[in-house]
Symmetry: C2
Subunit: 392 residues, 2 copies
């Protein structure tokens, strides 16, 4: 699963999903957040079919799902043409079954994760020799951000310049093993209001923001260089500063749209205030930035930090946002007492108010993850007849 | 009282209060919102003294208040030098008593109003021949926005270019009589959190926003031309569009600051959604924009509209933001039944949630106003001995 630091926002081509600027994301650990997808081709199947989280979804002709399946079959056909002994899988219909383990409707980039898993699953079914970057060209046409999720670690989406999109693909800046110390706390935030669909929002920003051009032509290219270097040098201070500045600027151009687009709400603002104060205390004591917030097209916060700071950060968030359920302590930070909520010494508690239970309705502790994994047959989601195990 | 459409934000000189861009405001009607100031000079007074809303305030040496008084005395001295028969008021200390009738701590630009009234009062005391533009140079050094409030109607603050600030002054684009139909509904919004002081916020934006330069060098100069023309042509559609776009961009560069600055909150966002939907309904029916929101450095909304729309707008706001007290119907829009709250036909009620009592804690209906008035002696705030009537 990927979460975006450098947002793509505004598509120069909405059909091919070509972005207005390059972007960068951290792929998160599938031990905690994952899409699992099984696909099968069979001459008996009457049409391409898809089940998502136990429910069959329509594969619309000319839609994004159909495009991805068609493009994957095209790559398979190339294999079959070169090796005539290969079974003609490209001529068969496919059944695809996919499941996300994310909290329902939390707005956690499930389409990015899902399309990456779909492409990855079909690539395995078809025994494609394609590199992740080549596959990312296809995943991109399903959901832009999905292209980055074909890799683990720290991944850039190079915007490219060709009209056909053939150079708008993902490359890995560094694998997770390079900097495994990067952990993340996802704060799932309640929101009263329905958000703008990100596609229509992007288009309006491109059409109406008078600040966007400066961002995409000048600011983002410079920041891409700086943050890539910070990743290679494991320089968290720079990584954090640029991540926060860029999250804020992404939301600034959303606000500069006519009519304006707001993704963050008062809870999001409070989390920003807490991370800002937490960093201020560290810097005032001669230290460096200890955490970085980032917000995608929604109110949920992702807080990145070196592992050693996660305990303090969980305590801080729990202090201001009491949790209905105990903190799911995936990394054993707390003893049996769990996280009770407290702030670090010198912290100005007045920077935000204490919220009621449910304002942050869930916390997920995870870390930088690896890329797509091929699972054993026993973990497949389709039964022998090619229908979902759970519903068949 | 002035409310800003084109924000000055970022001062190129913090001592002289020189802005990074020109700006424009509408002076509101003192029948509803006003500062009343009385000043007196007397050889018996031992020092310059100031009472504000019944409480004596310290006049700090080298501070903004002291600067304004000193500059006004300098102008008086010029008068005395030319006309030796004039009493030597410039050599006497002054007592100044000022009162705002605004809701306490509502964040309604009280310092702008107060400094304009102060300068205006001293100009009357000293019988200065100075034009409002000349006085605006001095009011500006008290509180930047105050310079615009020396005029009624629609007022521009020309940023100027001289290092000494001698061309950074206010000019009137049009008097109230030109377009008296412009009314305003001020929505006083509760906020949990303390805001950033606007002075330190401005400095941080100048230092850290990578989008500000585009705004001040390109976007604002163009918009100043467009909105000035719209005022001269009484073109509400253009006035409204530019006012909203510019309010949003002002807050966008605040968000692009490091750390980010938020002035609007979820209530402010809801009011934006309501005005946006109200306008959408009109435009969808072939009409024009009917209202414009604008936000200064705080969560309060000012909604501008032609008078004929105010009844619908009050009903709309009351529908979503129930009021503890009845609507103060200064213009007699409603009969004895008052505003009950409703939306116009075709309005999508789902664009915002209905809030509880107190989210918008007050509504003030006012309109474009005139400039400073000289009041009769019986309305003065200082008694015969030169001390405040209420506290002496």
């Amino acid at each position: 699963m990927g979460l975006v630091d450098y947002r793509y926002w505004g598509k120069r081509d909405t059909k091919l999903i070509l972005p207005t600027n390059s972007s960068l994301s951290v792929t998160l650990d599938q031990d905690h957040l994952r899409s699992t997808t099984t696909s099968r081709a069979d001459p008996k199947f009457e049409k391409d079919r898809l089940w998502l989280n136990g429910k069959e979804e329509d594969i619309k002709e000319g839609g994004r799902m159909a495009t991805c399946i068609r493009e994957m079959k095209r790559l398979r056909r190339e294999v079959e043409e070169k090796s005539p002994n290969e079974p003609k899988l490209s001529e068969m219909n496919v059944h695809i079954c996919s499941h996300n383990n994310f909290p329902t409707a939390a707005g956690l980039a499930s389409s990015a994760s899902g399309f990456a898993a779909l492409v990855s699953s079909l690539a395995a079914l078809y025994s494609l020799p394609a590199s992740p970057s080549t596959l990312s060209l296809i995943a991109r046409q399903g959901s832009g951000s999905a292209c980055r999720s074909l890799f683990g670690g720290f991944v850039a989406w190079e915007m490219g310049s060709k009209p056909d999109g053939s150079d708008s693909l993902a490359i890995q800046v560094a694998p997770r093993e390079h900097w495994p110390d990067i952990h993340a706390l996802i704060c799932v935030v309640s929101d009263d209001k329905k958000g703008t669909s990100s596609t229509s929002g992007m288009q309006r920003t491109v059409e109406t923001s008078t600040l966007l051009e400066k961002r995409i032509k000048v600011v983002v290219p410079e920041r891409m260089k700086v943050i890539s270097k910070a990743i290679l040098e494991k320089d968290f201070d720079t990584f954090a500063r640029v991540t926060m500045q860029d999250s804020n600027q992404f939301h600034a151009v959303a606000l500069d749209t006519d009519p304006p687009i707001f993704y963050m709400n008062d809870v999001s603002r409070s989390i920003i205030a807490l991370v800002t104060e937490y960093n201020r205390v560290s810097v005032a004591a001669g230290g460096k930035l200890k955490a970085a917030y980032t917000y995608d097209a929604g109110p949920n916060a992702v807080i990145y930090a070196p592992k050693e700071n996660l305990k303090e950060i969980v305590e801080l968030i729990v202090h201001y946002f009491p949790q209905a359920d105990g903190f799911k302590d995936a990394f054993g930070l707390f003893g049996s007492g769990g996280a009770k909520g407290k702030v670090v010494e010198g912290f100005n508690e007045g920077v935000a108010k204490k919220w009621g239970v449910g304002a942050v309705k869930g916390l997920i502790h995870t870390r930088v993850g690896d890329g797509p994994r091929v699972l054993g047959a026993e973990e497949g989601l389709l039964g022998l007849e090619g229908f979902p195990k759970t519903t068949a």
